[in-house]
């Protein structure tokens, strides 16, 4: 049997208030006066010993009983009574919500979607959240998205839960678990709640450091869906279109498959699905131009999922493959000339080295200026990164082995191929060194690699390290096959031979202008801006829903891309009872999550009801016992008494609510209980803070920022109370803004009674010889005990002033890598900050390990010594929403990284930093304070 527990035993002393309550009750009892002939008999009555016995005094004293009950209810509410239903209650609970496509399937029992059932369960979990517990919500799709930080703010949790939507993407647990693991570095996470339908990969390559409570949603109705939508060239102007259909287990149904173009049905077929069979429907269509196809599946019976009933495919314009091959490479040109649908350049004496080609075959390290080709074959040249370990010498070399499964070497026989160019690999180096430099060896020679493929680039590049015309390769049968494979790879890349529908997740859109900004309109009506890479591929546009995406530039539509679910696992609605992790397995829980049930709110309401009851009883007695007031003065007196009592009740309710609210909030702010000393505090949420028009604004420039910035520089902060400016600070501060709002800010040390005054401040950022008005905010500084208080001014979560130690320890974690001056600098920016230096080589190799950190400071030396892999990880983390603060010297400008190559561009005395990844509109080195300054960025794009 479990007994009720209390979260705040320290409030048990409130029960001692019963003593003064009883004393004051009898001393200050408001008794109605009754005039009687004589007190003689009553005086004798109360002198009776029995009358004065304690029991007799309390007997049937309903008013006192009500007051004692009221006090008891308040005490129990303050002590936060709860009924334990868990054996061990973790303070930090991570809830993973599967929001993949299969969660939109309707439950066969309740008729509601699985995501609705999951949200209902999580809603109950939030309702029963204890005051010392915090929940972090993470949405799980093919990746993971943290919806909330660990918080006990039920409103924020409910808001985040309300905004959870199903995305038409497959699900994968890896990222979510790694994110949780990263979060467990800052807080102790014992258990993770996983709400999913079990439509997950059977095996998850992850070693669980915590317990996973697998809550499986209900069984879904039968489902049919399109899992493949491809097309293959069938002649010069014809395509064969294939539509693959899959079904959930046990489904026996028929379905009509329609092929639509511009909304019109151009082909139609009927197929039936039985069990595990996956029928494929083929259509042959004529296409003289680029067309957009839509495959629609219309099942005969019920269908659980709608998002997999439609798929989109863009068929490109039929054209020959454009190949640039220099005239001196006659063997290649001869082999290419035998292939159909191939256009070899230069031809007829025209040597046009600019323009777009599908394939470039050359004998120089880089293609000629202006020539763009997604597939490249470089012969007889060692690529620059390999020049240190590979050299070309005269001699003979022969092929030892080759990668037969490579598409380029398919059916290619390289036995007895001898070359007169000898590729020599430096002594003491191994093949792994070549791989670390970003190359995959496809053909091994006796003294070194003969054919390598460049990895990690936006183009496909093959490097034939020897010249084939100085080898026996051109006389072998394998040579035309090699060229044929190369052409096929180029055709596939150019989508000229085969093309398949794109899956949801990341929008696939090619062939746009390089490094150009585009606007993408999603099917739901939302829009996003994105920039193309150097290869014309649109980068970083999420495609969470099935449908057509419109790509436009300057208001003009330039392309239509599409995304389809096309996931057999999602369509089959696989429901795994058991998830296999590394060295362990997790079975779906039979029971729902047992959460401790808090009662303090009920006791608070009970206290309020008792208060009202006591008030009613008090008035009932007065009205009855006192002599009937007939005069007007008696009426006024009664009204006055009633007003006084109502005011008292109102104040008591305020006190009770304030007490309860403080309990709920204080745990969020200061788990160590330090904030208890500060008593009642005001909660302020300035997300929608008002701009006071009556305030004497000093600023002249209104900021107009769209994103988030880290500002470090001179701030002028003016504190007002009752429209009277009583303190002005001008100092070097730190602030984080979202738009034109200050989100977090270090406030200077203040002292005196203003800590208990709810005042407001006006913040002006000084830089670029201008003053940027950051607005007016209501603030309540947290404490006079600290030199400085980090004030989290606006957020969707609880925004409460906290001490610098607590807030930094909980909210912001600053990490500095390697360089001491950066560490000191970060510490100087954030006073009272405890910075833990990290060696840069110890930097995590997964972006999810950065999840608990809000800002990463990076110094010059550290950045200079960063490896490509580390920079790539940082890049991924930044792309995922992480914020990075760079502290760089001038000599770092030459460092090549994809996301800061444009960051530093000095313009006059100030820095203006347009960046392709961030919005470095503001770079203001504080005059005389920091020679290096800082870079503010929002890298959320």
């Amino acid at each position: 049997m479990s007994w009720p527990g209390f979260l705040s035993w320290q409030y048990a002393w409130l029960a001692l208030l019963a003593v003064p309550l009883i004393v004051f009750y009898f001393l200050k009892l408001r008794r109605p006066k009754v005039r009687i002939p004589s007190l003689m008999l009553w005086a004798q009555v109360i002198h009776d010993q029995r009358v004065n016995s304690p029991f007799q005094r309390f007997k049937r004293n309903l008013l006192l009983l009500l007051q004692l009950l009221l006090l008891m209810a308040l005490v129990l509410a303050a002590m936060q009574l709860f009924w334990p239903l868990q054996e061990e209650r973790g303070r930090y609970l991570t809830v993973l919500i599967d929001t993949s496509a299969s969660m939109a399937a309707r439950d066969s029992v309740s008729g509601r979607t699985r995501i609705e059932l999951a949200k209902q369960s999580i809603g109950k979990l939030i309702d029963d959240l204890m005051a010392d517990q915090k929940i972090s919500l993470i949405a799980v799709t093919s990746t993971a998205q943290r919806l909330t930080d660990f918080t006990d703010n039920k409103r924020a949790l409910r808001d985040a839960l309300t905004q959870v939507r199903v995305q038409d993407v497959p699900s994968s647990l890896d990222d979510a678990l790694r994110m949780t693991q990263a979060m467990s570095r800052s807080v102790r996470i014992d258990s993770v709640l996983l709400y999913t339908d079990g439509n997950l990969p059977e095996r998850v390559d992850f070693e669980l450091p915590f317990e996973v409570n697998y809550q499986q949603m209900g069984k879904a109705e039968p489902n049919l869906g399109i899992t493949a939508f491809t097309a293959r060239r069938a002649g010069a102007k014809a395509w064969q279109v294939f539509v693959g259909i899959d079904a959930s287990a046990g489904t026996v149904s028929g379905a009509k498959v329609q092929l639509r173009q511009e909304g019109k049905v151009i082909a139609e077929d009927y197929t039936s699905v039985k069990g595990d069979a996956s029928p494929r429907v083929m259509f042959t269509i004529d296409a003289e131009s680029a067309i957009n196809l839509e495959a629609a599946l219309i099942p005969d019976g019920t269908d659980a999922l709608d998002s997999d009933n439609v798929a989109y495919l863009q068929l490109p314009l039929p054209r020959p493959l454009r190949i640039y091959c220099p005239p001196e490479m006659e063997a290649f040109r001869h082999a290419l000339g035998q292939l159909p649908d191939v256009e070899v350049h230069p031809s007829d004496g025209v040597n046009d080295t600019s323009g777009k080609y599908d394939l470039w075959i050359g004998n120089t390290q880089f293609p000629p200026d202006g020539l763009v080709a997604p597939v490249r074959l470089v012969v007889g040249v060692v690529p620059p990164p390999l020049e240190k370990i590979i050299q070309l010498t005269e001699g003979s070399a022969e092929v030892i082995d080759w990668h037969r499964s490579s598409p380029l070497l398919q059916y290619v026989q390289l036995t007895d191929v001898i070359t007169t160019d000898q590729v020599v690999q430096a002594a003491g180096t191994a093949d792994t060194d070549v791989e670390q430099l970003g190359f995959e060896i496809l053909v091994h020679g006796r003294t070194g690699p003969l054919l390598v493929r460049e990895v990690g680039q936006t183009y496909h590049a093959f490097h034939l390290l020897f010249h084939p015309e100085r080898s026996t390769l051109v006389y072998r049968v394998g040579f035309p096959i090699l060229v044929k494979n190369l052409v096929r790879a180029a055709q596939q890349t150019a989508s000229l031979s085969e093309i398949g529908a794109s899956q949801t997740g990341v929008l696939a859109c090619h062939g746009l202008e390089p490094t150009t900004s585009y606007r993408v309109e999603l099917p739901g009506g939302t829009a996003a801006s994105a920039v193309t890479g150097s290869d014309g591929r649109l980068l970083g546009v999420a495609a969470p829903v099935v449908g057509a995406y419109t790509v436009s530039r300057n208001g003009e539509q330039v392309r239509t891309a599409s995304a389809s679910l096309l996931s057999a696992m999602e369509t089959q609605l696989v429901a795994r009872e058991e998830l296999l992790f590394r060295e362990t397995a997790v079975t779906a829980a039979v029971d729902t999550v047992a959460q401790d049930r808090p009662f303090w709110t009920k006791f608070a309401w009970c206290a309020f009801a008792l208060l009202l009851l006591e008030w009613l009883y008090f008035h009932r007695r007065v009205d009855r016992a006192t002599e009937a007031p007939s005069s007007r003065s008696s009426t006024r007196r009664t009204v006055k008494q009633t007003a006084v009592k109502m005011t008292g009740i109102f104040l008591a309710v305020l006190l009770a609510n304030g007490l309860a609210g403080r309990i709920a909030i204080a745990n969020d702010v200061a788990p160590d209980g330090k904030m208890e000393r500060h008593g009642l505090r005001a909660e302020y949420d300035l997300t929608g803070s008002r701009q006071r028009e009556d305030a004497p604004l000093l600023a002249t420039w209104k900021v107009n920022w769209e994103k988030e910035y880290l500002l470090q520089g001179n701030f002028r902060i003016e504190f007002f109370k009752d429209r009277i400016k009583y303190q002005v600070y001008e100092s070097d501060q730190y602030a984080l803004t979202q738009g034109d709002r200050v989100v977090r800010m270090l406030l200077p040390a203040t002292s005196g009674p203003q800590f208990w005054i709810r005042h407001w401040m006006h913040v002006v950022f000084v830089g670029n010889d201008r003053e940027y008005d950051l607005g007016d905010f209501d603030v309540a500084l947290p404490s006079d005990r600290h030199k400085c208080g980090l004030c989290r001014i606006a957020s969707s979560a609880n925004t409460i002033g906290a001490s610098i130690e607590d807030e930094i320890a909980r909210q912001m974690r600053f990490e500095s890598f390697l360089e001491q001056d950066t560490t000191r600098q970060a510490a100087s920016w954030i006073p009272n900050t405890v910075v833990t230096p990290w060696e840069f080589q110890d930097m995590p190799l997964s972006p999810f390990y950065y999840t608990p950190f809000d800002i990463v400071f990076l110094g010059s030396a550290a950045f200079r010594s960063a490896s490509a892999k580390q920079v790539d990880i940082l890049d991924q983390w930044v792309q995922a929403g992480g914020r990075l603060c760079l502290c760089l010297h001038d000599f770092c400008r030459s460092i090549r990284t994809p996301w800061r190559v444009n960051c530093w561009r000095q313009q006059g005395p100030n820095w203006s930093l347009p960046s392709k990844v961030g919005h470095f509109h503001l770079r203001i080195p504080p005059p005389g304070l920091h020679a290096e300054g800082s870079v503010a960025s929002d890298l959320l794009s």
Partner: protein, 306 residues
């Protein structure tokens, strides 16, 4: 409860507003019946306790030399051959002192009116029985008592009614103070009819002792209001004394009703014992009880009158 207004003007058919004519006629035929026949030397109609000369035979006794031979019963002598002397009762005048408590406590619930009615009833019986009736009204302790000088006979009836029908003001006079005032002015033996609620903090025993010493039998009538017999109080109240203005806080008054009744009954017993020990009578009535029932049922059955 009677709705008589004592101060209202009388009609022509009424002798007094205090008593109905029917009750008045019946009362005029009734006489007070004292316990111990405390009379005065003055000859009257009331039989004295001792022997005397009158027409009322009392007893026989043996003749002793020196006796008046006129009182020898010669019929007995001739039958028994022994002389016996006839003894006769002495008829003397008896004082009837009516003391009315008109303090503030009597202003509640027509207690004073009932006291005036009873005083009128006792007075009628007294004057019609040729007793010397005097009435004292005691209210304020600072001033003296108003009184009706001793009177007797039918002719005094009108004067007595006029005195009783005067409006009486309240006061804080206690019982023993009232007795002191009465005995300071009264002489003569007889009975003292005490009409009060006896809810006083004074020394009750002292008052009764003084009456007994003065040769007055105490005929005490305690008049209580309905709220004193069965108070309707509950919860926490502050009781205010109507005479002294003193207050007393009572918590959970509803629970104290049992103790209150115990105390009230004990006080009644104490008053009854005090009267009985001094050859007096005691009766506790409620002001809401009809006057006819009090006079012709309770008082008559208890032998207060005949």
């Amino acid at each position: 409860m009677s709705t008589v207004n004592a101060t209202a003007p009388r009609t022509r058919r009424e002798m007094t507003r205090l008593l109905e004519n029917e009750a008045l006629a019946r009362l005029s035929r009734m006489r007070l019946q004292p316990v111990r026949r405390r009379t005065n030397r003055t000859h009257g109609e009331h039989l004295a306790g001792k022997g005397g000369v009158s027409t009322e035979f009392a007893d026989y006794r043996d003749y002793v030399p020196g006796d008046d031979t006129r009182f020898v019963d010669w019929n007995i002598f001739f039958r028994l051959q022994r002389p016996y002397v006839k003894l006769f009762r002495l008829e003397e005048v008896m004082h009837v002192v009516i003391v009315i408590d008109s303090s503030s406590s009597m202003q509640f619930e027509d207690k004073l009116l009932r006291a005036q009615q009873l005083a009128a009833a006792f007075g009628v019986m007294g004057v019609m029985g040729m007793e010397r009736v005097s009435i004292y009204v005691c209210g304020d302790s600072s001033s003296g008592s108003t009184s009706l000088s001793p009177c007797a006979g039918r002719v005094s009836m009108r004067r007595m009614f006029d005195f009783l029908e005067q409006e009486q003001s309240g006061g804080d006079c206690s019982f023993d103070q009232a007795i002191d005032k009465v005995l300071a002015r009264h002489t003569g033996r007889g009975i003292a009819v005490l009409l009060s609620d006896f809810l006083t903090f004074g020394n009750i025993q002292r008052g009764f002792n003084m009456l007994y010493s003065a040769g007055l039998e105490a005929f005490a009538v305690q008049i209580l209001g309905p709220s004193e017999i069965s108070p309707e109080l509950d919860g926490d109240v502050r009781l205010v004394d109507s005479e002294s203005g003193a207050s007393l806080d009572i918590s959970s008054a509803g629970d104290l009703m049992g103790f209150y009744q115990e105390q009230r009954r004990a006080y009644e017993s104490q008053l009854a014992a005090a009267c009985r020990q001094r050859n007096g009578r005691f009766l506790s009535i409620g002001s809401h009880v009809p006057l006819r029932e009090v006079l012709f049922d309770q008082l008559l059955r208890q032998g207060w009158m005949r």
